[in-house]
């Protein structure tokens, strides 16, 4: 007898439909899985056999062949256990195959027949809707995640027995927990926690409002990480589509523990020993990298000068294009990478800075050379973060994230209106042509900028960076035009990466 069950393979951060075809016929008892299944899928045979028998169903003593179609697609992961078991049960007549028609299955089985959680439930649910299916049977703890997709009925099941009962209409599925649309954050952070950096809040606000990449320069322990950590709370709240996208990525990466949508923008801070493929995505079976996990949020690189040069080089294209293409022999995967970059560095390797520095000239120049790499070409804002004084630490906290976020949202609304019909979504992504046509720079502002240009040989790229930032400053100001005062502010926070060295 033959049975067919729908499931999905995870391919990067997308899913591909997979049909599990089971054929049970007379012959020497055997259980074969074909169709480019990797080790974890081939091991599923033992789990499926154990689960079926230990649940009290009959494991057919016949020749069983399961094909995972399409055969060219590599399948991996333990989430094929449940569809495999269901297919075997249907092919041996223990479940009516009509019940399987419009339903997709994912889930890992234990030898006891329990269904364990799997990664990527949300992505599978989206795939099921695209494939025109109406129901998705998945581990009970992931039911809420599957239910996020409209038009898909999520059938949470706890065990193989439960799954069969649901398919036979003998038991109800586990209702997805009352959909916690916005998952609460365990340890909420707020800008109000920051003390002693009042002067920098404005710069952080510019970064958030224009989506500008930010570089913080200052001695260790002064709060660079603390500020960066709070940047996501200043960005506009995730829209529903963005939240679904973020949840899907995090679910596939195994970072999302079920439940509803991720409500907070992600913040990722990889260690400086991270490899290029861990940062931008890759590996034999390509996995999303840190920058994809930071998609729609903030990627924070502390100790920028300690990162391997190749690693930083690998970031350039993803930062520019908003996506990264990973090519492997058999396939080409695209990961989204629209993240804001925040980098931080000590002023020199010993971290003490000018007056107390103990570094040799060679160490310092190596440090500065590493910092002046092409990655910093993509950074619009630089700010010095000094050690706050004791008085400042005792003083008032910063304004709350919510207050700043309100202004950021207003500034973003202006940008969206101005950039409608272009590729860009915020000022940081404006091309030179857009700056020319849309930035509305007054003549006096232009003059002010050109004077600086002459005075210190601002590069063309530096020129555009200042204009982009000035545009954001004007947006925060509620001004339609970029005046010279906006240019002045932008100049004070610009990134000019040539170290002051004259000839040395």
């Amino acid at each position: 007898m033959l049975a067919r069950v729908h499931s999905f393979a995870i391919d990067g951060v997308e899913t591909r439909r997979v049909t599990v075809e089971a054929d049970v016929r007379l012959g020497l008892p055997a259980f074969n899985v074909v169709g480019l299944a990797d080790k974890s899928v081939r091991e599923a045979r033992e789990r499926v056999r154990g689960a079926i028998q230990n649940t009290g169903f009959e494991f057919p003593q016949k020749r069983i062949t399961v094909n995972l179609a399409p055969a060219y697609l590599r399948k991996e992961g333990p989430h094929f256990d449940l569809p495999l078991a269901i297919a075997v049960l249907a092919a041996s007549g223990q479940i009516a195959s009509e019940a399987l028609e419009d339903c997709a299955f994912i889930g890992e089985l234990s030898m006891y027949g329990l269904v364990s959680p799997v990664r990527g439930s949300l992505a599978v649910a989206e795939g099921a809707r695209r494939a025109g299916l109406r129901r998705l049977m998945l581990p009970a703890s992931r039911a809420a995640e599957g239910a996020l997709v409209e038009g898909i009925e999520a059938l949470g099941v706890e065990s193989l027995a439960h799954a069969v009962a649901v398919l036979r209409d003998e038991a109800p599925p586990i209702a997805s927990a009352p959909v916690a649309e916005r998952e609460a954050v365990d340890d909420p952070v707020d800008l109000a926690d920051v003390r002693g950096h009042d002067g920098l809040i404005g710069v952080i606000e510019i970064a958030a409002a224009g989506g500008h990449n930010l570089f913080m320069h200052g001695p260790p322990g002064t709060g660079k990480t603390m500020l960066a950590r709070r940047l996501p709370t200043l960005l506009p709240p995730l829209t529903r589509e963005e939240a679904v996208e973020v949840t899907r990525i995090h679910s596939i990466a195994g970072l999302h523990t079920g439940g509803g949508l991720i409500a907070e923008r992600p913040f990722r801070a990889p260690h400086h020993l991270v490899s290029p493929s861990a940062l931008v995505g890759g590996g034999a079976t390509p996995k999303p990298g840190e920058i994809t996990l930071a998609h729609r949020g903030v990627l924070f690189l502390d100790e920028l000068s300690e990162f391997n040069r190749n690693t930083l080089e690998a970031l350039r294209q993803p930062l520019e294009d908003g996506r990264v293409v990973v090519v492997r022999a058999q396939r080409v995967l695209t990961f989204p990478t629209r993240a804001m970059l925040v980098a931080a560095s000590n002023p020199c390797p010993c971290g003490l800075g000018d007056p107390g520095c103990r570094c040799s000239a060679a160490e310092r120049s190596r440090h500065e050379r590493r910092l002046s790499g092409p990655l910093l070409d993509r950074i619009d804002l630089t700010v010095h973060v000094p050690r706050p004084s004791a008085a400042a630490l005792r003083g008032q906290g910063s304004p709350s994230s919510a207050a700043i976020r309100e202004r950021v949202v207003a500034a973003r609304a202006r940008q969206t209106a101005r950039l409608a019909g272009t590729q860009a979504t915020c000022n940081a992504h404006m091309t030179p042509a857009m700056l020319r046509e849309l930035a509305a720079v007054t003549a006096s502002a232009r003059r002010a900028l050109f004077e600086r240009h002459d005075a210190e040989g601002l590069t063309a790229r530096g020129h555009h960076r200042v204009l982009r930032v000035a545009r954001t400053v004007a947006d925060l100001d509620g001004s339609a035009r970029v005046g010279s005062e906006h240019i002045h502010t932008a100049l004070a926070v610009r990134s000019d990466m040539s170290p002051t060295a004259v000839a040395a």
Binding site: G199, H488, V502
Partner: protein, 369 residues
Amino acid sequence: MIDACGNCLRRTELIAWLAGRIEQEWRLRRGRPQLLALGDAALLAWAGLPDVGRQYAAFAPAFAADRLTAAGLGAVCRCSERYPAGLRELPDPPAVIHFAGDAGLLAGDGAALVGARNPTAYGREVAAALARGLGAAGVTVVSGMAMGVDSVAHAAALEAGRTVAVLATGADRPYPARSHQLHRRIAERGCVVSELPPGHAPRRWAFPARNRLIAALSAGTVVVEGGEKSGSLITADFAAELGRFVAAVPGPITSRMSAGPHLLLKAGAELVRSVEDVLDLLHGVGAVHAPMVIGAGEPPPPAARPAHVAADVPAHLRTLLRRVEGGAGSLAELATGADGLTVARDLGELEQRGLVTRVFGGRYIRSLA
């Protein structure tokens, strides 16, 4: 132009042959190399290297002269009248001075400008302003082409005038190697000199030895920045022993980089606040004024003093400027509350007016004229 006798060329070769042996000795004793004052025979006897003795005996001056020509260097020995007079005052004058460029600059009327290899932004700014001003005033700036203050001083002096670089390697060999462009520019428009033969590799003893030449080839030495054990202090010592003036640029007492100059000042060195102070030391008080710049129409930067504050600078900018002068350099230090962006705007405007300068990493310092 090669104006060197066989004996002097042989003496130079001998030092080069014994460079490794001298290095060993220097490692044991540190401090200034004493051996250069010994005569040839005494040196050979001290070294006790028979091979070198044989080479010494077989030395052919024509060979050394050919090598100088091939390297494009000139040479003048202490038997010649053209030998720089300043060097004769040394207890251990070099036998031959090798040079690339204009040997006329070795007259000894210039000022040495030396300092730390890793100066602060302030040190760079001061070194550049002093060198530029001295260059514009027609004073030759003598230094050692090391990284940091030395290189900044050479580069700034070249903008407005002439400069002499004294190397601890062969005069045709840029050291540090990354300064090769600076080396070429100085050879073209100033003069690069060394007591060692062409192509000679750097040796640690050669740096303090080089410092004695810097002191001897200038009318006085100005130390910009340096730690308490800085090589610049050795140069200052030599200058003092030769009876030349020693001057130093003060800095914050909290800065390690100003510890060296402060040590000198405490010991009675002249204090330098501007180019005029150096010109006064060179020519007598008020004898020569820092000149206006000739050329591109711009007035030359006359002195290392804060840029002039025009009358139309509004009060709030003046207040901010005073705080920058007081040492507050970054936005976070200058902002008093949630006025960060206002302060940023004002800093931008001050920079526009040329009153402050933004340095690496986003700090501001007061501009010097």
